[in-house]
């Protein structure tokens, strides 16, 4: 942002507002910023859809009630439930984890009896792929 300007602009004092930390750890601040940004992105997408519906309706390309009264097929329901659950798991994953301080987790991994997990094999990976949905990466 601190670029030279050529027209009626002069040097300024950079306030450095991108590096404030208010919470216990800078990463917590960063996460809150991410959450607020996600809210903005969600609203930007939703507002564009509202505009899209209005424009299509005004051009006679879409009757709004067709969207409101659309009855999902059983296949739709199954697919959408999968999509909904994927989104819920993805967005709220942090709340479903037992919080462990980073240094404590590292010590535990280095300890005499570190927690073991089964290897991630091809079946696991395929299951993860399904959980990510048809366009998941």
């Amino acid at each position: 942002m601190n670029k030279p300007h050529t027209t009626a602009a002069t040097d300024f004092i950079d306030h450095g507002s991108d590096s404030y930390t208010f919470l216990q750890d800078p990463i917590v601040d960063a996460l809150v910023e991410v959450v607020v940004e996600l809210g903005a992105e969600t609203w930007i997408t939703r507002r564009r859809m509202l505009v899209l519906e209005r424009v299509m309706a005004s051009k006679g390309l879409l009757a709004p009630e067709l969207i409101e009264t659309y009855t999902p097929s059983p296949e739709d329901e199954a697919l959408w439930r999968q999509e909904r659950d994927r989104m819920l798991k993805s967005v709220y994953a942090a709340l479903a984890r037992r919080p462990v301080r980073g240094d404590a987790a590292a010590e535990r991994a280095k300890g005499a009896h570190p927690p073991r997990r089964a290897p991630l094999n091809a079946t696991d990976l395929a299951a993860r792929g399904r959980a990510l949905g048809p366009s998941g990466v």
């Binding site: 300007h5 009626a8 602009a9 002069t10 004092i13 208010f22 910023e33 607020v36 903005a40 507002r47």
Partner: protein, 359 residues
């Protein structure tokens, strides 16, 4: 997709893309939620913390409030989301305007020589350090970004939560501005005019008067002039310091300063008041809207005191604490004015200082 010209919203051109407009709409909505829903909890919570911090004393001072509030998770989160909201507002606008910098630069270049009215820039003016800060953490501040005017205009539109898209607040201020007792208003000067919203409203209110807007920031004045041209209003914008207007003594009937004084050090505030006293004619009026200072703050809620400090600390309001801890009414009187307080026309900035130069 960017259209640049998407029509107008009242007297303000719509933002150049639907996504940016939606992003700013989110910023407005989030801000409204923050100051209503979130703050309703914060107020109760902060009162409890402040009472504990005060102990036996009647009330806690800023140091005690900070000791109680700074580590509190709820209040820390409130500060976090406030600054995030503020940065989100600026970043969205700055990204978009910077990406199309050439378009907006060409537009300003073209308008510089158009009328009615004029913009007079002073390339020799030494910009004082006190106004080089990123006020409100606006990228580049008012002096350091050639597109500062557009950024400020759309950013403050979001700050006003959509209630000032057609300069409604500034028009209201101009309608209710204090006038000389004899009613004679032929020459008006708006100090620290920024993007000229009040200057323009004053010209609409006093169409036969000569209206001049003065500001230190060239980029803001260029945008002010562009707006005046678009609205067909003859306003003269000059890049000068409010403490050195270079105007003739006793030549002005009405001077205004809307939220200028908390952006300058107290020493400069005194110089500005002396300068306005000099340029006003006997019976002339200086109408100032700015924050409450010194003795007026005794009834302030603890969180308001803390938020004022946080605004100074985190939001680029470099001189706010110095101003609110001064006694501005005494400063006006010290310059020779007969000064009194009136209720402000705007809820979020109190009060209105009305200063009259004796006949």
């Amino acid at each position: 997709m960017v259209n640049i010209d998407r029509g107008s919203n009242g007297r303000t051109p719509r933002l150049p893309s639907l996504d940016l407009e939606s992003q700013q709409d989110f910023v407005r909505g989030f801000r409204e939620w923050m100051v209503t829903e979130m703050d309703s909890q914060i107020r109760v919570h902060s009162e409890e913390l402040a009472a504990r911090a005060a102990g036996e004393a009647q009330s806690a001072n800023l140091g005690a409030l900070r000791a109680a509030f700074d580590p509190d998770p709820l209040i820390a989160t409130r500060l976090r989301v406030w600054i995030t909201n503020q940065r989100q507002m600026w970043t969205g606008l700055d990204d978009q305007f910077s990406r199309h910098r050439d378009h907006y630069r060409d537009e300003l270049d073209r308008y510089d020589s158009l009328g009615p009215g004029s913009v007079e820039l002073d390339p020799e003016l030494v910009i004082p350090d006190y106004c080089r800060h990123e006020i409100h953490i606006q990228p580049g501040g008012y002096v350091g970004n050639e597109l500062a005017g557009a950024l400020y205009h759309y950013g403050t539109n979001s700050f006003y939560m959509g209630q000032n898209d057609s300069d409604e607040f500034h028009i209201m201020l101009a309608r209710r501005v204090a006038r000389p007792a004899d009613g004679h208003v032929a020459r008006v000067v708006d100090l620290g005019c920024g993007i000229g919203q009040l200057s323009i409203a004053l010209k609409e209110q006093f169409p036969s008067a000569e209206v001049t807007g003065i500001d230190v920031a060239g980029p803001m004045l260029r945008y002010a002039h562009k707006r005046a041209v678009d609205l067909g209003l003859d306003v003269r914008f000059q890049q000068r310091l409010a403490e050195n207007t270079q105007l003739e003594s006793g030549s002005v009937d009405l001077a205004t300063a809307f939220i200028l004084f908390h952006e300058v050090p107290t020493t400069i505030a005194r110089e500005i008041c002396d300068e306005v006293f000099r340029i006003l004619r006997p019976g002339g009026v200086f109408d100032v809207t700015d924050f409450a200072t010194g003795p007026m703050r005794s009834a302030e809620a603890p969180f308001a005191t803390y938020r004022s400090w946080a605004d100074h600390q985190y939001n680029g309001e470099r001189w706010r604490e110095e101003f609110v801890n001064s006694d501005f009414l005494a400063i006006l009187r010290g310059a020779g004015f007969v000064a009194e307080l009136q209720p402000s026309k705007m809820a979020w900035v109190q009060p209105n200082y009305v200063a009259r130069k004796p006949d």
